[in-house]
Structure formats: structure tokens, C-alpha cells
């Protein structure tokens, strides 16, 4: 196999020549080049996935610890002191530790699991395989993308081991808590490590995103027009564009913050008293940081949910044995979501003193997102309608995703109204909303993806029984955890408090909080079952024996069962049709590689 055929594209003569220089010693694979500094997109995908899993366990464990506090505020757990030392003196989590745990739970899960772990994994794994490319446009930058992600992870992890602890002012990193070292213990070195870790993460996301975009646009195989690519690829394209355009704004905001922390500037600071002492800072605006943060922060939730939507669309079509309903409507609504993502950020700031007229504009734009979201939901429902559904674990999670997306999306309409938001802001209603709509549902998309493509990743199947247990406990558990929080929120129970027992309005929820905490612990335990299933199946799972076990149309199932670097041993297949020819002309499926027959009906 020559280098030329590895990277295809004889038309763009320059492509492979540039590649020559980046591929010295490519074919002598050692352990280091194959598993550590790998430039194979499939291996990089697995690296992202497993790093994301480690983070998911740590982030989930943090939530278990603070749920223990919330559910059992009057109990002591001596074993907590054994593992956390002075952070849990006498078996009760300290105030600083509680806020650190909440902050890092958010940071870790939003960025390192649901962004890095989700789109990092599936963009890397699926883009080249589904568009018919040997690898990413630049395998080297792709490798760097993972290692910047890893570096950022290490820096964030390191902040847990410094004397003053990790940052504790919330994952949104608002100043002045994040700008003034004297504001809290977590605002000292922990905040600096957070900034450095996130800066590395932004670099990783930029390198990855540039690669995903140029791979999708430039390296599609012959016949694979943009209207023939699977919806996963469209979703990952929009995700990458959102990331490339929104993360730099966060980076700018963090650079200004770094100067506020260490160079005596006042970008975000004005008229501040700390412990009775007036600070000299004047003329800055804390609200400015919120604008910069949410200009990333809102697209970020679509960076999280779009890949899940793409995975679910693909899995639904395969398992319903029907074409996806409304392919172009799906693409169009994702495009609309990607545009609107940049125009709604101030709905996170309705209660900051934002001009009510400006607020009403953001209400309108926010509620507009309901339109493309509803189009997508109805398209999934109509895809399932009268389908010949195979309820594989992946399909179960895909259906679970739709259920959660509807439940969480409806409460989004409540919160998008600035007047209702005055009541609901900073209550448990918000927690319930975003955990269901972007937390759990994105996880469901990710689980669906892992179960569905595991055979392609490792050449073996995961265990279905464990998978069904995992599905049902997680789905029921997620609703049991977050459904009651809506009631707590409507009763105005505020977020961010570690102990409600002093308020008679809120201590009526003591039993409910205990219940939520108990379910959270059970759900966390079931995720360990998933991890066991995953790692056990890598080595001992049932072997895949056929090239295309699901009867799917897309290109990844035309590769060998365990594809090597370069994906196809011979020529890259040519594509003749879209990705959704299921149940057509009395055939279960027609692969994309099959030419259109003489008497074939139109779809």
C-alpha cells in the first residue's frame, strides 16, 4: 500500500505530498507509536474514550460525595475522613470541599467528559470511517489534540492535590471569586490551575475541531456528496464549527482574568470589599466575564448535545430498518441550532440586571430553538413509527435519549422566559433542567454510541444482559433523581447551599433529598457495571464474525472486522447513494457502495 493510496485524493495532488513529511517511520509500529503516541484516528478515539471514562468516574464520584452531604446533612461518615483527610474532618465534608466538589463536578463533566470524551471519541472514530477516508486530514495534529487534552486533564487533576484545594467558585468561573485569591481558598492556586487546564483544553479542542472540519470537507470519498453523508458526520461538523468559533472567546476571557489575578488590572473588578478592606480596583465589570463566558457556554451545550443527536439518528435508522425521517430537515435543524447557539447566551443572565428589552430579544431567540429541536424530536418519533425495531442496547439508549431530550427540553421553555426565570433562576429547577437535557441525555447518546460501535472498535460485542440492566437502572434512576428536583425548584429551593436544615421552608424536603441521594448512589454503582462490561468485553467479549453485523448501509461496515491503520486494505470504496436506504424495494438494506440499480425506485 503506497502512501498515495493511504491518503487518497489524487485530484488534490498536494495532499499526500504534505503527508509524506509527517509520516516518517509510519510502518514500523512499536508499542509507543501504536498505543501511546498513535496517529491512527481509531486509536486516538479510544484514548479519548477511556480518558473520558476515567474522568466520568471521578466526576460522578464527586457528585456522590456531595449528594451524601445533601441527603444526610446531619450524619457523619468517618470513612470520608479516611479518604479525604482534613477536607472531611469528623466525617463531614467541609464547606470549601463541598464547593470544590460541585465546581469540579461541573467542569469535569461538561468539558472533559461530555466535550472531550464524547465528540473527541466519536468525531475521531466515525468521521474517517463514515466518509471513506484513510485517516484524519492531519493525523499528527490529531495526536496533539489528544495530548493537549491529556495535559489539561493532568493540570486539572493536580489542582486536587494542592494545599488550598481546587477552584470552588462554580464551573462558570465567575469573578470576583475567580479573580481574587483572597476570596476563598479555592481561588488561590486552584484557580490558576483551572485556567491553565482549560487553556490546554481549548488548544486541544481547536486542533481537533480544525481537523474534523477539514477532513469532512476535503476528504470524502468519491460519490460521498454532503447530502449523502450520515447524520453523525453532519452533527460532528456543526459541533466542530461551534467549538472552533466559541472556545477562543472563553480563552480571551480567561486571559483577561489571568491579568486581573496577577497583574493588578481591573477588567472584571470594581468597588470590591474583601473582609472589610476596600480594594483599589475600579472601572471593571464582572458582568463582562459572564458575557464572554456564556458566549462560549451556550454553544458549549450544543457542542455536547449535537454529537449525541447525530449518533442517535444513525442508530435509530439502523435499528428501525427504516430511512431516517426527514434527512434534510435534520440537517437544516442542526444548522439552525448551530446558528441560534451564538445568539442566545444572555438567557443565562436574565437576573444580572440585563436590560429587560434586551432580555425580551433573547427570550424570543431562545424560544426559537424549540422549533428545530421539535423538528428533530418528531423526526425521531416518525423514524420509529411503524419501524421494524430491534431493541438492541444501543437502540434502547437512543430511545432513552429522545425521552430525556423531550422531558428536559420542555422545562427549557419555562426557563427561556425571562419573567419565569426570575422565580426559577438559581433553584433546583435549573439543575433538573440542564442535567436531564444535556447531562443525562448526552450520556445516553454516548452510551448508545459506545454500545453500537463497540464491535467496530474492538471486534467483539459487549454483554447485552448487563447492558439492559445498565439501561433500565440508569433511565429510571435519572428520572427519579431529577424529576423531584423540579418540585424543589418550584418551591424556590436555592442551588449551591450545602445544608438546608436551618430553613423551615426547605427542610420539608429532607426525605426527598435522602431519596435523591440514595438513587444517585445506585445509578453511580450501575455505571461501574457498564465499565466492567466495557473492559471485560474488550478482552473476553463474544467475537464479531461478520463484517456487517447490523446490516447497516454506512461505510464503516465495509472495512475488515478489525481494520488496520488506513481502514480499507484495498481501494477506498466509492459511494453511490445516501446512507439511509433501509427497507427499500423489499430489501432490508442497500449499502452505500452499491450502484443504483436500473429499476430501483426513488426514495
Amino acid at each position: 500500500m503506497s502512501q498515495d493510496s493511504i491518503h487518497g485524493h489524487p485530484e488534490v495532488v498536494t495532499t499526500h505530498e504534505v503527508h509524506h513529511d509527517e509520516h516518517h517511520g509510519h510502518h514500523k509500529e512499536t508499542f509507543i507509536t501504536k498505543y501511546v503516541f498513535s496517529q491512527d484516528h481509531k486509536m486516538i478515539a479510544k484514548q479519548f474514550l477511556i480518558t473520558g471514562m476515567v474522568w466520568a468516574v471521578l466526576g460522578g464520584l464527586m457528585s456522590v460525595l456531595f449528594r451524601l452531604q445533601l441527603g444526610y446533612p446531619n450524619e457523619t461518615f468517618p470513612w470520608l475522613e479516611d479518604i479525604l483527610g482534613r477536607w472531611a474532618k469528623g466525617g463531614r465534608i467541609s464547606v470549601e470541599n463541598y464547593y470544590s466538589l460541585v465546581t469540579m463536578h461541573g467542569t469535569v463533566l461538561v468539558f472533559f467528559v461530555l466535550t472531550g470524551g464524547l465528540s473527541g471519541t466519536f468525531a475521531n472514530f466515525l468521521i474517517p470511517l463514515q466518509i471513506g477516508a484513510r485517516d484524519m486530514a492531519s493525523p499528527f495534529l490529531n495526536m496533539l489534540s489528544y495530548w493537549f487534552f491529556f495535559g489539561g486533564s493532568i493540570v486539572i487533576l493536580a489542582s486536587f492535590f494542592v494545599q488550598t484545594g481546587p477552584f470552588s467558585g462554580g464551573w462558570t468561573f465567575y469573578p470576583p471569586l475567580s479573580a481574587l485569591g483572597d476570596a476563598s481558598p479555592g481561588s488561590k492556586i486552584g484557580a490558576d490551575l483551572w485556567i491553565i487546564g482549560m487553556a490546554l483544553f481549548v488548544v486541544s479542542s481547536l486542533l481537533g475541531g480544525l481537523n474534523y472540519i477539514s477532513t469532512i470537507l476535503n476528504m470524502r470519498t468519491k460519490g460521498m456528496s454532503m447530502s449523502r453523508v450520515p447524520l453523525t458526520v453532519w452533527a460532528l461538523l456543526f459541533t466542530a464549527v461551534l467549538g472552533v468559533l466559541s472556545f477562543p472567546v472563553l480563552l480571551s476571557g480567561l486571559i483577561l482574568l489571568l491579568f486581573d489575578r496577577h497583574a493588578g488590572t481591573s477588567f472584571y473588578l470594581s468597588d470590591i470589599f474583601i473582609a472589610g478592606k476596600a480594594l483599589p480596583n475600579e472601572g471593571g465589570s464582572a458582568i463582562l466575564f459572564q458575557h464572554l463566558f456564556w458566549f462560549l457556554g451556550h454553544p458549549e451545550v450544543y457542542i455536547i448535545i449535537l454529537p449525541a443527536m447525530g449518533l442517535v439518528s444513525e442508530i435509530m435508522a439502523v435499528n428501525c430498518r427504516k430511512p431516517i425521517f426527514g434527512y434534510m430537515a435534520m440537517v437544516g435543524s442542526m444548522f439552525a441550532i448551530a446558528i441560534l447557539a451564538f445568539l442566545v447566551w444572555a438567557h443565562h443572565m436574565f437576573v444580572t440586571g440585563l436590560n429587560p428589552f434586551l432580555g425580551s430579544v433573547f427570550v424570543l431567540l431562545t424560544l426559537l430553538i424549540a422549533v428545530p429541536s421539535a423538528i428533530k424530536v418528531f423526526n425521531w418519533l416518525t423514524t420509529m413509527w411503524r419501524g421494524n425495531i430491534r431493541f438492541t442496547p444501543a437502540m434502547m439508549f437512543a430511545v432513552g435519549f429522545v425521552s430525556l431530550f423531550i422531558s428536559g427540553g420542555l422545562t427549557g421553555i419555562f426557563l427561556g422566559n425571562s419573567t419565569l426565570d426570575i422565580q426559577l433562576h438559581d433553584t433546583y429547577f435549573v439543575i433538573a433542567h440542564f442535567h436531564i437535557v444535556m447531562g443525562v441525555s448526552a450520556f445516553f447518546g454516548m452510551f448508545a454510541g459506545v454500545y453500537h460501535w463497540f464491535p467496530k472498535m474492538y471486534g467483539r460485542y459487549m454483554n447485552n444482559t448487563l447492558a439492559y440492566i445498565h439501561f433500565w437502572v440508569t433511565l429510571v434512576g435519572a428520572y427519579l433523581i431529577f424529576w423531584p428536583m423540579h418540585y424543589e425548584g418550584l418551591a424556590a429551593m436555592p442551588r449551591r447551599y450545602m445544608d438546608y436544615s436551618a430553613w423551615s421552608s426547605f427542610n420539608q424536603f429532607e426525605g426527598l433529598n435522602q431519596f435523591i441521594s440514595t438513587v444517585a448512589i445506585i445509578v453511580f454503582a450501575v455505571q461501574l457495571l457498564f465499565l466492567f462490561n466495557f473492559f471485560y468485553s474488550i478482552f473476553k467479549g463474544r467475537r464479531v464474525t461478520s463484517q456487517n453485523p447490523y446490516g447497516a448501509t454506512t461505510l464503516e461496515w465495509t472495512t475488515p472486522i478489525r481494520p488496520g491503520h488506513g481502514n480499507w486494505p484495498g481501494e477506498i470504496p466509492e459511494v453511490h447513494r445516501w446512507a439511509y436506504d433501509y427497507g427499500k424495494d423489499d430489501r432490508s438494506f442497500i449499502p452505500q457502495t452499491e450502484p443504483i440499480g436500473a429499476h430501483e425506485s426513488k426514495h
Partner: protein, 224 residues
């Protein structure tokens, strides 16, 4: 790198780049979009803070010095020279890219050299200006210049000035480093062996972008 293509070519049908460019140039364009958002965020932050302030120092007063001629009052003369140098370096970059198109190695070397000289000259000017302001007592967190209406100013004028021109200067510095690498690669005949000077084009895109950003930074800090 443009190539001869047949008419009615199906650009988006797969099997080729829809823009007829190799991936590196596509990535550079998207990177520049991303970087435009970085600078956009800085400049909008600057605008927000300045807009919410009652008054602001007068650039004609702050930037009135020129090296070597004492305390003569010539507003904006020095920054005009800096801007002229940077724009000239963009012109030489265009000439380097053009020389690359005709595979003229000597031409590329000559014009890349001038571009690097221009970049270093700009950075030198910026270093002088920063030092001069520093000796006047301006730095991050300290601003000796009063507002134009005579009221005492906040430090945000200098805070934004040093942060944003510094970030831009860092970009120019990276550009100079990239250009030096390109020059060395040209001199060692790497691009002749490849048969094309695409890397010079990509470095050129970055360089022009950095110049374009300066136009905005210049406008925001020196003219408005």
C-alpha cells in the same frame, strides 16, 4: 494552489476538495476565523468597558512621542510609522508568495527576508513604545494619563492597551518565527523538492491576518 479543472466539475460530490485546496490551507482559514473571534472578544471587551466609562484618556496626548527627537509633540507619528512598516511587510509577503508561484527560490528568499525584517522592525518599535510608556509610569494596573475631560482615569486604558497590543505583538512574534522557519526551509530547497511553495502561502495567510488585526487594534486604541 489552483489547478486546471474541467468545466462543470462536481465540486461537492466527494473524491476531491470542494474548494480545490489541500487540507492545510483549509485549516489555516478556519484557524484564522477562530483567532478572529479571540481578538473580537478582546476588542469587544475593550469597547464594553470604555463605553461604560464616563471618560477616557486622549490618544493624541498619550501617543505623542517619537524616539530620538526629545519631547516634541507629534501625535500618532510613531504609530503611523509602525503601521506603515507592518503594511509594507504585508506587501513583501505578497511578493514572496508570488515568487513562490513562479517557483523562484531566490525571489522567495529575498522577499521572505524583507518580511522578517519588517516584522522584527515592528516588534522593535513596539518594544520602544512600551518602554517609553513604562517610564512614564504606565503599566498593567497603573495609568498616569488623565481622562480627556480632566477627570482622574481608571487603570483600564493601560490594562487594555498592554493586554491587546501585547497579544497582537505575540502574534507578530509567532509570525516572525514561522517566517524564519519558512525561510530556512526555502534556503534548504525543501519546497523545490516538493514542487510547490504552498507553505509560504499559508504563512502568508497568517501574516496578512496579523496585519489586518493590527488595523483594528490601531483604530481602537490610537484613533478612536
Amino acid at each position: 494552489m489552483a489547478q486546471v479543472v474541467p468545466a462543470n466539475q462536481k465540486w461537492w460530490a466527494g473524491g476531491r476538495s470542494p474548494f480545490n485546496v489541500e487540507y492545510g490551507k483549509l485549516m489555516m482559514w478556519y484557524f484564522l476565523m477562530s483567532d478572529a473571534f479571540t481578538f473580537g472578544a478582546f476588542l469587544i471587551s475593550y469597547g464594553t468597558i470604555r463605553f461604560s466609562s464616563n471618560s477616557w484618556p486622549d490618544p493624541n496626548f498619550v501617543f505623542r512621542s517619537f524616539p530620538g527627537i526629545g519631547e516634541m509633540n507629534i501625535p500618532l507619528a510613531f504609530v503611523s510609522l509602525m503601521t506603515f512598516i507592518l503594511i509594507m511587510s504585508s506587501v513583501t509577503m505578497v511578493l514572496a508568495v508570488a515568487a513562490g508561484h513562479s517557483k523562484d527560490r531566490k525571489g522567495v528568499i529575498k522577499w521572505m527576508l524583507w518580511t522578517i525584517v519588517g516584522g522584527i522592525a515592528f516588534l522593535g518599535c513596539q518594544a520602544w513604545e512600551w518602554t517609553h510608556l513604562y517610564h512614564q509610569g504606565a503599566w498593567w494596573g497603573s495609568n498616569p494619563f488623565p481622562n480627556i475631560d480632566g477627570t482622574p482615569s481608571t487603570t483600564n486604558f493601560t490594562n487594555f492597551f498592554f493586554t491587546i497590543t501585547g497579544f497582537h505583538g505575540f502574534h507578530v512574534f509567532s509570525g516572525v518565527v514561522i517566517n524564519i522557519i519558512m525561510l530556512i526551509m526555502t534556503m534548504r530547497g525543501v519546497f523545490d523538492r516538493r514542487g510547490h511553495y504552498l507553505m509560504i502561502e499559508k504563512a502568508g495567510l497568517y501574516w496578512h491576518f496579523v496585519d489586518l488585526v493590527w488595523v483594528f487594534v490601531f483604530t481602537c486604541f490610537y484613533l478612536l
